[in-house]
C-alpha cells in the first residue's frame, strides 16, 4: 500500500512543470484572431475635438513624435524627401506648399488619424493628444522655413524681460 502510494506520488510529481508555461490568454498568443464585432454596436458619439493650448512642451512632444512617425517619409525638414521616399515611396507634398501653409491645423490632425493618399492611418500608433502635438510641430516647421530676420527680432523682444 505504502509502496503504491509512493509510486503514485512520484508519478504525480513528475508531471509538475516549472510553471514557465501557463495556459492563459496573453497578448499575441496565436489563439487571438480578429475579434468578431459584437451585435448591437452603436455609433461612437462624435465630439468636435478641442485643440490643446499651445505650449513649448506640446511642440517638443510633437517634435519627438514627428521624428518617430513622420520623418521616414516627410523628412526632418518636412519637405517630403524622407528616406522611404528616396527608396521609392510616392513623394508626399512639402509642408511648405501653398496649400498646406493655408490649411487649418486641424487638417494635419485629421490626416494623421485617417491617412491621405498613399499615407495610411496612424490612428493606432499616434493617440489624439500626440496628433495635436505633431500638428503644432508641423506649424513650427512651416514657420522656421519661411521666417525672416524681423520675425526673430520680434520673438527676441518678446522673450526679453
Amino acid at each position: 500500500m505504502i509502496r503504491a502510494l509512493a509510486i503514485l506520488s512520484l508519478c504525480a510529481l513528475s508531471a509538475c512543470s516549472d510553471m514557465s508555461e501557463q495556459p492563459k490568454q496573453r497578448s499575441y498568443s496565436p489563439l487571438v484572431g480578429p475579434a468578431p464585432t459584437p451585435t448591437g454596436v452603436v455609433t461612437f458619439l462624435y465630439r468636435e475635438p478641442t485643440p490643446p493650448p499651445l505650449t513649448l512642451a506640446l511642440v517638443e512632444r510633437g517634435q519627438q513624435r514627428f521624428r518617430i512617425f513622420c520623418t521616414p517619409c516627410h523628412s526632418e525638414l518636412g519637405n517630403g524627401q524622407g528616406m522611404i521616399v528616396q527608396r521609392g515611396f510616392p513623394e508626399p507634398p512639402s509642408y511648405m506648399s501653398a496649400r498646406l501653409l493655408k490649411a487649418p491645423t486641424r487638417h494635419f490632425v485629421d490626416v494623421i488619424a485617417q491617412g491621405h493618399g498613399a499615407m495610411y492611418s496612424y490612428a493606432a500608433r499616434v493617440p489624439p493628444a500626440d496628433r495635436w502635438a505633431i500638428a503644432a510641430y508641423i506649424r513650427a516647421l512651416q514657420k522656421s522655413q519661411n521666417a525672416s530676420a524681423e520675425d526673430l527680432a520680434a520673438a527676441r523682444a518678446e522673450a526679453a524681460p
Binding site: Y28, P34, M83, A118, A124
Partner: protein, 217 residues
C-alpha cells in the same frame, strides 16, 4: 585452492567505485549547470520567422525609430508587435511584388495576423513591464542586444533570473541618458553621467527592486 581475486583487483575495485562516484557527481553537476548555460538559454538563437525581417535594414539602414513599429513600449507592459497594417504603411507602395513579402500581403488581405515566433521570452510567472524600464532609463539593448545590427533577430541575452537580478541589485551602471534609450549600440563612456546622478535623475528606488513581488505575483 588459489584466491579468486588477484591483489590488483583491490585497485580496480576502488578505481571503479571512484569512477562511479565521479560519474554521479559530474552528472549531477551538469544537470545543475545546464539550465544556466547559454546553450540551454538559447543565446544567439534566431528562429525561422514567417518573413525574414531585418532590423539591420530597417533601423540602421533606413533610420526608422524602434517606436515606429513597437509603438506602445513607453506606455504599456507590452512593447507592441506591429500589426500587418503597420508593415503595409510602407510596403503597400514599395517592394509590392517581392515574393518575401507574400505572407504580409496575404495577412492583410485575409485579415489574419502574422504569427511571429517569440525570440525574447521570459517565463509566464514573470510579469515584465516595458514602460517602467523605458521610463527609468533602461535602454532596449540592455535586454535585447544590438538589435539595429541584427540581420535576423536573435536572442542576445540569457534572460535568466540571475540576469535580471544583476541589474535590479545594482541598476546605476546600466542606466543611460534619455536620448540614448533607443540607441542599441550605446555603451557607457566618459561622457555618460555617473550612475548616482542617473539614479537620482530617474528617481530609481533602490530599496525594494529585489522584492519578489516586483516581478512575480
Amino acid at each position: 585452492m588459489g584466491s579468486v581475486f588477484r591483489p590488483a583487483a583491490n585497485f580496480w575495485a576502488s578505481l571503479t567505485l571512484l569512477m562511479m562516484a565521479l560519474a554521479v557527481a559530474a552528472f549531477s553537476l551538469s544537470v545543475w549547470l545546464w539550465p544556466h548555460s547559454d546553450d540551454a538559454r538559447r543565446v544567439n538563437w534566431a528562429p525561422a520567422q514567417p518573413v525574414p525581417f531585418s532590423h539591420q535594414h530597417h533601423v540602421s539602414g533606413l533610420g526608422i525609430d524602434c517606436r515606429y513599429c513597437h509603438a506602445s513600449v513607453e506606455v504599456s507592459s507590452n512593447a507592441g508587435m506591429p500589426p500587418t497594417y503597420a508593415c503595409m504603411s510602407c510596403h503597400s507602395q514599395i517592394w509590392t511584388n517581392a515574393a518575401l513579402l507574400e505572407p504580409v500581403r496575404n495577412s492583410l488581405k485575409d485579415d489574419r495576423p502574422l504569427v511571429w515566433r517569440r525570440v525574447t521570452d521570459v517565463p509566464d510567472y514573470v510579469y515584465f513591464d516595458h514602460s517602467i524600464h523605458i521610463a527609468k532609463g533602461v535602454g532596449c539593448s540592455s535586454c535585447h542586444g544590438d538589435v539595429a545590427s541584427m540581420a535576423l533577430t536573435y536572442k542576445a541575452k540569457s534572460l535568466t533570473m540571475q540576469f535580471c537580478l544583476d541589474c535590479h541589485r545594482d541598476p546605476g551602471p546600466r542606466l543611460r541618458p534619455k536620448d540614448k534609450i533607443y540607441d542599441t549600440s550605446w555603451t557607457r563612456d566618459a561622457t555618460t553621467p555617473a550612475p548616482e546622478l542617473l539614479l537620482a535623475a530617474y528617481g530609481v528606488p533602490q530599496r525594494n527592486l529585489t522584492d519578489c513581488s516586483i516581478c512575480h505575483r
